[in-house]
Amino acid sequence: MAFEGLTERLQNAMTKLRRKPTVSEADLRETMREIRLALLEADVNFKVVKDFVKQVRERASGAEVLKGLNPAQQIVKIVNEELTSTMGTEAVALNKSDKIPTVIMMAGLQGAGKTTTAGKLALKLKNEENARPMFIAADVYRPAAIDQLEQVAKSIDVPVFQLGTDVDPVEIVRQGMQQARDQHNDYVIIDTAGRLQIDEKLMGELVNIADLAKPDEILLVVDAMTGQNAVETAQGFNDQLELTGVILTKLDGDTRGGAALSIRAVTGKPIKFVGQGEKMTDLDVFHPDRMASRILGMGDMLTLIEKA
């Protein structure tokens, strides 16, 4: 891969840097160039990279170098800490309503993994809380979207409320909410159709669904392989919907997942879970520190630094 050389390049840069008690401007310049490149290659949005680099510079400039580290390692340590803290430091749990049902709405671009993730969440709630979730099938556009949700639901034994594809999604949600209240489901998970954040009509539909169902969670589902555009997508959805959290999918691939940093930086919303496969059990809580080292792609060096 393109960045395999990063650790080596950094090591090279470091040998040039003499051991000094504090980080100098020269150390910073040399090291930050490589960091900047690593972040861009990891698909972190370039504006986010700019701000981030500036922030690290301010903190690292003149910083004391810890024993056992050289200046470049010290900078990487700071980068890693800043990256982790930008992404949220610790895992954030799902919001829960005081009275049932807690309503969770899935939103995102086409093919991001909303329907699959809805299934994973329901299974998680069943397993961990003995919950009785219900799905509302509010995607009337994608061919066989309801079939897909029903098959997912059947595999984890969760009921689906659906009215076919000829009824307006807002009306489907209205009737679905009524049924959930009647049947005392403790969670309602609304599966919505994928849409572009610039699609005014379909974004309007989501807003109407949210106004009606008053979700406790509006989760933006984002493909971890997303490039620079993650910023625009996240901002677009967040501006129109007021997201409560993000789920990053397809992290079982070999992408570095820089979108995680971009999204967090522009929305400030927590990444709550990550999808790690196609099976219903492939959902994990988000660990900012693991994500940071994945984005940096410097596993070896970080281990070294942690030992120092």
């Binding site: 861009l40 698909d43 093919g111 061919p143 066989a144 493909d223 392989m225 555009n229 397809k250 570095r256």
Partner: protein, 288 residues
């Protein structure tokens, strides 16, 4: 705008616009260097001239990587043409088949679809909805059954019943999953065993919103299934799909079609100049 203004800020902004289009950092730097040279060489002055030079040069760079290449979809001289669709999860394989099948059907071809994604929930039903819309037949297998068996059945039907074009839909798979990539290679081998010249195209479907990972996707799918071309989907969104420039550069794979929406007509032949203009059009607009 006058040349001085274009000269100074323009190329820094161009580099950023290219990065923002996902062409990748190194590619962006190298491209904007080449473009700066070219603009100087051609002595372009006005905004319009500079824009034209850049488009021409970018198209040129794109096309250099595939001289004498035929960007069309290859059809068999005789007997059924087999088109195999591959790619990671959720990129638009099934939808693209739905759109393309309608196109060939309209052109009077006898079209058959193979639902060789037996894995994902609702995948067969999804292709069946497209089959119904397009009035074309779909060969299916049991849920969770062997996808290679569906492929085998479909190829046999295509031969026996004189179909012109067979579209094979496969399950999305991430390129780092070795077993799944082997399964795909097996499907391809079965096609070749049944029809020597087939598959006539192996189309890798890429989502334009994908960043640098698309390069790895192209590399590994090419290794396992000998990809012949790319379908770049979801270009109707705000993503630019710049990574195909890097793919072109390293792997010499051409984009053959672009997806521009979810409806049956939202598919077009790839137009290199329109595409490269899209990579930096915002920049030109704000400088107007």
């Amino acid at each position: 705008a006058n040349f001085r203004r274009v000269d100074e800020d323009f190329f820094d902004n161009l580099e950023e616009a290219l990065i923002e289009s996902d062409v990748g950092f190194e590619m962006a730097v190298s491209l904007s260097d080449q473009l700066r040279e070219e603009v100087k060489l051609q002595n372009a002055k006005s905004q319009q001239e500079v824009t034209n030079v850049i488009i021409e040069k970018l198209v040129d760079i794109y096309e250099q990587q595939g001289k004498n290449e035929d960007n069309h979809i290859h059809l068999a001289a005789t007997g059924p043409t087999v088109l195999l669709f591959v790619g990671v999860n959720g990129v638009g394989k099934t939808t693209t088949i739905g759109k393309m099948a309608a196109m060939y059907q309209r052109h009077g071809k006898k079209v058959l679809l193979a639902a060789a994604d037996t894995f994902r929930a609702g995948a067969t039903e999804q292709l069946q909805v497209w089959g119904k819309r397009d009035h074309v037949k779909v060969v299916t297998g049991p849920d969770q059954g062997d996808p290679a068996a569906v492929v085998f059945d479909a190829v046999k039907q295509a031969k026996d019943e004189n179909y012109d074009v067979l579209f094979v839909d496969t399950a999305g798979r991430l390129q780092n999953k070795v077993n799944l990539m082997n399964e795909l290679a097996k499907m391809k081998r079965i096609i070749s065993r049944e029809i020597e010249t087939a598959p006539h195209e192996v189309l890798l479907v890429l989502d334009a919103t994908t960043g640098q990972n698309a390069l790895t996707q192209a590399k590994l799918f090419k290794e396992s299934t000998d990809v012949t071309g790319i379908v770049l989907t979801k270009l109707d969104g705000t993503a630019r799909g710049g990574i195909v420039l890097a793919i072109r550069n390293e792997l010499h794979l051409p984009v053959k079609l672009v997806g521009l929406g979810e409806q049956v007509d939202d598919l077009q032949a790839f137009d290199a100049s329109e595409f490269v203009y899209g990579l930096f059009k915002d920049l030109v607009k704000t400088n107007d």
